[in-house]
Symmetry: C2
Subunit: 144 residues, 2 copies
DNA sequence: GATATCGTAACCGATATTGTTACGGAAGGG
DNA sequence: CCCTTCCGTAACAATATCGGTTACGATATC
């Protein structure tokens, strides 16, 4: 399945924006992401609605972070992109009243809930500042 | 996104097959899953290749479990359906040499690996026999 | 007013699962 | 033998999501 690359792209570009410090246009950001400005506006628009970035139109406009990198977690970005569970439990709804189907779904839901808890903990514990620091390490020293 | 319901469907039908004990045709299984026989053959075919069920053609043919319910785990079924990771890390590949992209991807990969570990542990710890037992509970007493 | 930007709608393309039709092969009953 | 009951498989449409692209309007600065 084609994976949804929006979270990774947003982390990538937010860190760049934080390191550059100023305002960036959709055009420049699109080059960072190897895509085009409309995709950038679409995706950054979701972050704007959650107060992570702000935009200004007109000449000299563009996108800017509203907080410093150490005040944005991966989870913040994820929540801005999509509401609800990150990992959808792959349940079936063929015979909703069948006890066997209900028991199967229940097992899957609990397992995925545990995995999601793990995922959220990691996302919440990682700030963009840490990613920026890792990137500097990778750029110079050994990559692990 | 539309979730992949194959795992849930296979758990559902395998438990039914185990409880019924005999051989079932694709037609009857399709009725259990509220679908049609071709879908059943397609999906059960993957389980056959991994030795979980066996099939026979011709009159009196059909599908049968090769092991008892307590000897098949959810993980076995998952592995039969798809190889590789269950949770794909949603990484980006826009600029593979960019240290910032690499650092972002690395964070996501580690978080998803932790979540997948959790998921696999749950899948491996649950047998179809346990699901069958849960289903009997649900059918009679309170649902939890 | 000209120019640089964002905002947004509309559409196509790629991908994965599901549903469906169609046809062929195999096993067993009469 | 032929017929019925099965599975095996190919081929195609439908659906849903994300990504890419074009087009046009709104807005802020020069």
């Amino acid at each position: 399945m084609k994976t949804d690359g929006r979270l990774a792209r947003m982390l990538h570009v937010l860190v760049h924006m934080g390191l550059l410090g100023g305002r960036e246009t959709s055009e420049r950001i699109a080059q960072m992401l190897n895509t085009n400005p409309v995709v950038v506006r679409r995706t950054l628009g979701a972050l704007r609605e959650h107060g992570i970035v702000e935009s200004e139109g007109g000449r000299g406009g563009g996108w800017k972070l509203t907080r410093s990198l150490d005040q944005v977690t991966v989870l913040d970005v994820q929540r801005a992109l999509t509401e609800g569970p990150i990992l959808a439990a792959p349940i079936s709804r063929d015979h909703p009243t069948c006890p066997v189907e209900r028991a199967s779904n229940s097992v899957l839901e609990k397992a995925h809930a545990a995995a999601e808890t793990q995922l959220i903990a990691k996302y919440a514990a990682t700030t963009l500042a840490q990613i920026a620091k890792d990137a500097k390490h990778k750029a110079s020293g050994t990559s692990r």
